[in-house]
Symmetry: C2
Subunit: 142 residues, 2 copies
Amino acid sequence: MKALRSTRCPVSTTLDLIGDKWSLLIIRDIIFQKKYTYNEMLESVEGIATNILANRLKFLEKNELIIKRGLAANKLKKEYVLTEKGISMLPIIVEIILWGTEHLVEQEQSAVFKEIKKNKAKTLKKYTALLKERLHDVQQSN
Amino acid sequence: MKALRSTRCPVSTTLDLIGDKWSLLIIRDIIFQKKYTYNEMLESVEGIATNILANRLKFLEKNELIIKRGLAANKLKKEYVLTEKGISMLPIIVEIILWGTEHLVEQEQSAVFKEIKKNKAKTLKKYTALLKERLHDVQQSN
DNA sequence: CAGGATCCCATAGGATACTG
DNA sequence: CAGTATCCTATGGGATCCTG
């Protein structure tokens, strides 16, 4: 992943951040699947290679969408947490979910996706609150 | 561009459609910059190569986000029009614009982007109506 | 004008083995 | 457990020239 296109268009610069096959899936899993650690993500994100996952996590961290911290319980274990900037990406993901369920995927949906379809605003609020709570917990424990 | 990942996750399948550097920029230009023809896009989309543009247009057409039609005035000239499916992608782009203007791009914004920031729902409605009108015009002239 | 054809390079990304 | 290191391939994508 290279530097962002230095243009004045918010669409192209944002695409430089999440316009690839993987970044948004990682964020999706942090948000909806509660996958916070490296190996959890390795299993959860559909077939991502270990070097690619490492690369993306670093890239997302560098661009301040996530932060990494060690877990007190186990010094070896690290977990990733969405920053405020990362959390504010939720509306984008929600719209993508809505579009995808409407136009591409017809099968049974996960509970969260149904929830979004049923009441977007409410679900958005709920998950934003959850994520902020988690972020603040992490910031306090420093 | 390959086939879509056949998964049940709407995020990953949608990313297979627009999770690249270019596709969404093409759609952005059709919507906001009123770039409808090949050469207009070639100039407008930041430095895209001719083979890449052709590739993406074909891919978007194949996935029914755009349709192509010849212009009566000039048999050689073609123009691209968003389908209903393509138009319904507008909320995704709007959220990306909002996020990008908030977190990445600080400079003066284009009028449209300011409009979105000021009143998202209204702007969404307005552009959706405009695009549908154009689509119906095209469908009638067949 | 709307693309196709070609050439070529950089890099995304898969597989696997290894390490602090 | 959380990555690194390496090797290798596919393909994204730039530049340029060509054509119906």
